[in-house]
Subunit: 212 residues, 2 copies
DNA sequence: AAGGCAACCTACCGGACGGTCGGTAACATA
DNA sequence: TATGTTACCGACCGTCCGGTAGGTTGCCTT
């Protein structure tokens, strides 16, 4: 029945530990969260929790990798199957945003809290994040080379995209006036089309040319 | 010569303390920053620093209010002088973004770290932030009523704007491939016009109508 | 000259935190 | 029934942190 690695502790419980820890860390921050807090939330003692984890930093590191795994599996990998660049971008922004709203916080934690890791751990996480970032920027570059992008710096634009998406975790609340799908869709609209109507925009442009 | 409040400690030194503390807290996070760290960076001891501050949380609270003061003085107040709504939006996004890139971190800190405050302090900061947020959303509502906005939810759009702007502090580095002004301008472009070219966008819309 | 006060210091305290040690109870295996 | 392993617990340790007590130095005023 069990097909997991033989000598490791119970994997299912470990996943529950990651999920619970991620939620608490997300709410209170890594430093403000004590190992005791996490243990109590799981209904055990600190010593009991240390049966599963090897240290507080290692726990954070594992959670971050868990979050990056989710991001790869649910956003990056499916995106690679989409031929059209614009559709691919739409999918990435929407599915990434939904991962943030739906998720138990693992993806969000790796956004902040990187400084709490050891330098070696930090380097590994940063490298994985960098890979994702580059994939997104390459996508924008592809769109740009097809002439479908406005005159923007693709690096800055990628950061803007990620900023909007990551910011979701700060304001989106389940049961608020937007559903997760609606919130994701608003971000897609904003990212691809911006705020202003095109006609208003071009009118403005003409006006400014006359002025100067 | 001195026209400051008579019994309070040296105001100039206090401002230096705020600036230095803000930089360290911005880099390492509030919890990971000890009072000793701040004191040493100022060339004094912890007890010496406590001559100026009444507590670690109060220091954080003061820095946040300092940041919000900056935001009011350099973004909100000048914006109120601008008649045209679109120009006002442009100005707000650009000047807010430049405040983030240029600043010593006080504005950025109040973005994170709110949870470190006492409930009463947190409520006050949240109220001030809320005022700023509402002012920005009202501006979008005004543009929308003038018919100059795309079909977006103004609340979500405001969060998107603030997300892009606040995210700046995570990636913008002085001396990088963009100047502070260029970075701010990229955010304005992204916020107002989005990524895709209008013509590409309308072509896409027509295509999808045909498909479905 | 004397007093006052701002601007620090050294030394210390109580508490919390990460982490460890040596158990124990439950269950599986043989 | 003996043996091992997993999943915990209570008690403890060293360290570091926020904060305080009480002093010293030097400038400013009167």
């Amino acid at each position: 029945m069990k097909a997991q690695k033989k000598s490791a502790p119970n994997n299912e419980r470990l996943a529950e530990i990651y999920r619970t820890a991620a939620q608490i860390i997300l709410r209170k921050g890594y430093d403000a969260t004590s190992v005791n807090d996490i243990a109590n939330a799981l209904g055990m003692t600190k010593a009991g929790l240390y049966h599963y984890i090897s240290g507080k930093k290692e726990l954070l590191f594992d959670i971050m990798n868990f979050g990056l795994d989710e991001l790869d599996e649910e956003v990056a990998a499916p995106a690679r199957e989409i031929r059209d660049a614009e559709e691919r971008l739409r999918f990435m922004v929407a599915s990434h945003a939904q991962l943030v709203t739906r998720g138990q916080g693992a993806i969000t934690i790796l956004v902040d809290e990187v400084t709490a890791l050891t330098p070696a751990q930090c380097r590994k996480i940063t490298r994985r994040k960098r890979e994702y970032f580059d994939y997104m920027r390459d996508l924008l570059d592809e769109l740009k080379s097809e002439g479908r992008l406005q005159e923007v710096d693709t690096t800055a634009a990628t950061f803007c995209l990620l900023g909007m998406i990551n910011w979701l975790s700060r304001w989106f609340r389940q049961g608020g006036h937007l559903t997760a799908e609606q919130a994701a869709s608003e971000i897609v609209k904003m990212a691809l089309g911006g705020l202003l109507r095109p006609d208003s925009r071009s009118a403005k442009r003409a006006f400014r040319v006359v002025k100067s």
